[in-house]
C-alpha cells in the first residue's frame, strides 16, 4: 500500500530508510502503568512530568462501567510542527528511523515547540535534578533512540505485560507493526493537524481521543487534582 508523501522531512516509504512506529493495541492494555514506571526509570524523568502517560476515562452506567485507557507519548510525527517551530534547530528529525530528538545543549527554552505540539508530548525539565545534569530545557519521549539503535525495544515496549505496545519499522513490510497497520483498522490522534503521527492505536475510542465537552465544565474533583498537581510541580 503506498501512502502519499507530502513533505521532504517525511520518512514514510523512503527506500533504504527506516521508519520506526509504535502500535498500541488498546484491547490489550490493562492500565497497569508499568510503561510509565519503566520510562521514568530509564530516563530519571523528574516528578510531575512524563514522557509517556496512561490517562483513562470511566465510561458506561453503573453497574456496566469500565475504564478505557489511552497510553500516550510523542508520536514522532512524520511532519512534526515542533521541528518547524524551533528557532535554533534544537529539535530535529533523524532521517533514518524518523526519531524526533533534542539537542539539549542548544535549546534556549523558548517553549515554541511545546506550543506547537498538538499532543502535549513536551515538557520543561526542572532547574534542579538529583542525578542527571540536563536541566531547564525541553524534553520528551525519544522512542528510546539509544536502545533501538542497539537492537533493543523501547523500555515501555519491553515492559508492557499485556504486550499492548508493539514497536518496529513501518517501512519493512515484514515487521509486526507494518502487518498490524496494514491489516487492522488503526487510529492516530488528531489526524486533522497534519502531523502524520507514527503512533497508531487499535481500538481507540473517541471518548478518549476527542476534546470532551467536560473540558469546559470539569468536575470539581478534576480541578482539585489539577491544583494539587500544579502545587506539587512548583
Amino acid at each position: 500500500m503506498s501512502e502519499l508523501r507530502l513533505s521532504s522531512i517525511e520518512t514514510r516509504g523512503v527506500p533504504g530508510k527506516k521508519r520506526y512506529a509504535m502500535v498500541i493495541d488498546l484491547r490489550r492494555c490493562i492500565g497497569c502503568d508499568a510503561c510509565m514506571v519503566a520510562c521514568k526509570a530509564e530516563y530519571d524523568v523528574p516528578l510531575g512530568v512524563w514522557r509517556t502517560w496512561v490517562p483513562y476515562r470511566v465510561v458506561g452506567t453503573y453497574p456496566n462501567v469500565r475504564k478505557q485507557f489511552l497510553p500516550r507519548l510523542c508520536n514522532h510525527c512524520d511532519d512534526p510542527p515542533c521541528v518547524r517551530s524551533c528557532p535554533v534547530g534544537a529539535t530535529y528529525k533523524v532521517e533514518d528511523g524518523g526519531f524526533v530528538l533534542q539537542h539539549y545543549d542548544r535549546c534556549i527554552g523558548c517553549k515554541a515547540c511545546m506550543a506547537s505540539c498538538p499532543y502535549n508530548a513536551r515538557f520543561l525539565l526542572p532547574k534542579n535534578r538529583t542525578s542527571t545534569d540536563i536541566t531547564g530545557v525541553v524534553d520528551k519521549c525519544t522512542f528510546c533512540h539509544h536502545r533501538v539503535v542497539q537492537g533493543m525495544a523501547p523500555a515501555c515496549v519491553q515492559t508492557c505485560i499485556g504486550r499492548a505496545r508493539i514497536f518496529g519499522d513501518l517501512n519493512d513490510p515484514s515487521s509486526e507493526v507494518a502487518r498490524l497497520v496494514a491489516t487492522l483498522p488503526t487510529q492516530v490522534l488528531r489526524p486533522e493537524e497534519g502531523t502524520k503521527p507514527n503512533v497508531f492505536y487499535i481500538g481507540a475510542d473517541r471518548n478518549l481521543t476527542e476534546h470532551g465537552r467536560a473540558v469546559y465544565n470539569p468536575p470539581e474533583v478534576l480541578e482539585r487534582d489539577r491544583q494539587a498537581f500544579d502545587n506539587h510541580k512548583a
Binding site: P87, V88, G136, Y216, V221, K233
Partner: protein, 285 residues
C-alpha cells in the same frame, strides 16, 4: 468523575502578553517619531516618542530573554549554524535585533539632527518596527493546533493593536498640543475600529470552528476569560473608547486621554486573553 489525566502546563505564560504589549507600543512610537519628519504636527514628540520607544524596546528584550529557561543561550538565535528559518521566532529575533541596531543609529542621528539621515533611518526603522507586531502575530498563527491563534488575522490584529496602543501612549506625550491630539485621536479611532472589526470576525470563526475552537469560544466569552476578553478587552477597551472619541467630549484633551487609558487597559487585556485563550483547552487533552 473518576477520570485521570496528566494536567499539562500552558507553554506560554501571561508574561508573554506583557512582552507583546510593550513591544507593540515601542514599534508604534518609533513610527510616530519617523512620521515627524513628514508631518509637522508630530514634530513635538519626535524625540520623546523615540526615547520611550527605545526604553520599551530594552524592556521588551529583557522580558523576552527573561522568559527563556536558558537566557544565557539567547545568542543561539544569531548563530547561522543553528538558525531555522521555518520558525517565526528566528525571524522575530533577527527583526528585534536589527530594529535595536537601527534605533541606536537613530539615537545618534537625533543628537546630530541630520534630516536626510533621520528620514532614511526612520523609514528603515519603521519597516522593521512594523515587523515586530507582524512576527508576534505569526508566532501564534503558525500553531495549527491552537484555536484563535491559528487565524490569518493575527498578524494584522497585532499591527492594529500596536498602532492603537502606541497612539494612546503618544497622546500622553503630546500634552496640550491640540493639532497633534487631533491626529492621534484619528489614529486611535481608526485603529480601534479595525481592532473591533477583526475581533468580531475572530469571534465568529471561533464560535463556528471545530470542537477545540468552540470550547475556546466558550472560555473566552463566558468562562475563565470572559471578564478579561469581553469585559475589559472588547467593551471597556475597544467599544467604550470608540464611543467616547466620537462624542464632543472625545474631541477635547481630557476626553482623548480618558479614551487612551481605556485603550491601554483593553490592549493589555486582549493580548492576554488571546494568548491564554489559545492554550486552555489543550491543557486537558
Amino acid at each position: 468523575m473518576g477520570d485521570f489525566n496528566i494536567f499539562h502546563q500552558m507553554p506560554w505564560s501571561g508574561s508573554y502578553a506583557i512582552y507583546f504589549f510593550v513591544i507593540g507600543i515601542s514599534a508604534a512610537l518609533f513610527f510616530f517619531s519617523t512620521l515627524s519628519w513628514y508631518q509637522a504636527e508630530f514634530k513635538p514628540i519626535r524625540a520623546s516618542a523615540f526615547y520611550l520607544s527605545f526604553l520599551l524596546l530594552g524592556l521588551g528584550g529583557l522580558l523576552l530573554i527573561g522568559d527563556l529557561t536558558q537566557p544565557g543561550r539567547f545568542l543561539n538565535i544569531l548563530n547561522p549554524a543553528y538558525l531555522n528559518f521555518a520558525s517565526p521566532l528566528a525571524w522575530g529575533g533577527l527583526n528585534l535585533i536589527s530594529f535595536g541596531l537601527v534605533s541606536v543609529a537613530y539615537f545618534f542621528m537625533l543628537r546630530s539632527n541630520n534630516e536626510p539621515t533621520g528620514r532614511l533611518l526612520g523609514v528603515i526603522g519603521s519597516l522593521l518596527a512594523v515587523g515586530l507586531p507582524i512576527y508576534t502575530g505569526f508566532d501564534l498563527t503558525v500553531h495549527q493546533n491552537r484555536p484563535v491563534w491559528n487565524s490569518p488575522l493575527m498578524p494584522v490584529l497585532f499591527v492594529a493593536l500596536s498602532l492603537v496602543s502606541g497612539a494612546a501612549v503618544a497622546s500622553f506625550l503630546a500634552g496640550k498640543n491640540e493639532q497633534l491630539q487631533v491626529m492621534l485621536r484619528r489614529f486611535m479611532l481608526w485603529s480601534a475600529g479595525g481592532v473591533g472589526a477583526m475581533l468580531i470576525s475572530l469571534l465568529g470563526t471561533t464560535a463556528y470552528g471545530g470542537v477545540g475552537a468552540e470550547q475556546t469560544f466558550m472560555f473566552l466569552t463566558s468562562g475563565a476569560l470572559g471578564g478579561i476578553f469581553i469585559g475589559l478587552g472588547i467593551l471597556l477597551g475597544t467599544a467604550a473608547p470608540i464611543a467616547l472619541l466620537v462624542t464632543p467630549f472625545g474631541h477635547r484633551q481630557t476626553g482623548i486621554l480618558s479614551a487612551a487609558v481605556l485603550i491601554l487597559v483593553g490592549g493589555m487585556a486582549l493580548r492576554y486573553a488571546i494568548l491564554i485563550g489559545g492554550q486552555i483547552v489543550q491543557t486537558y487533552f
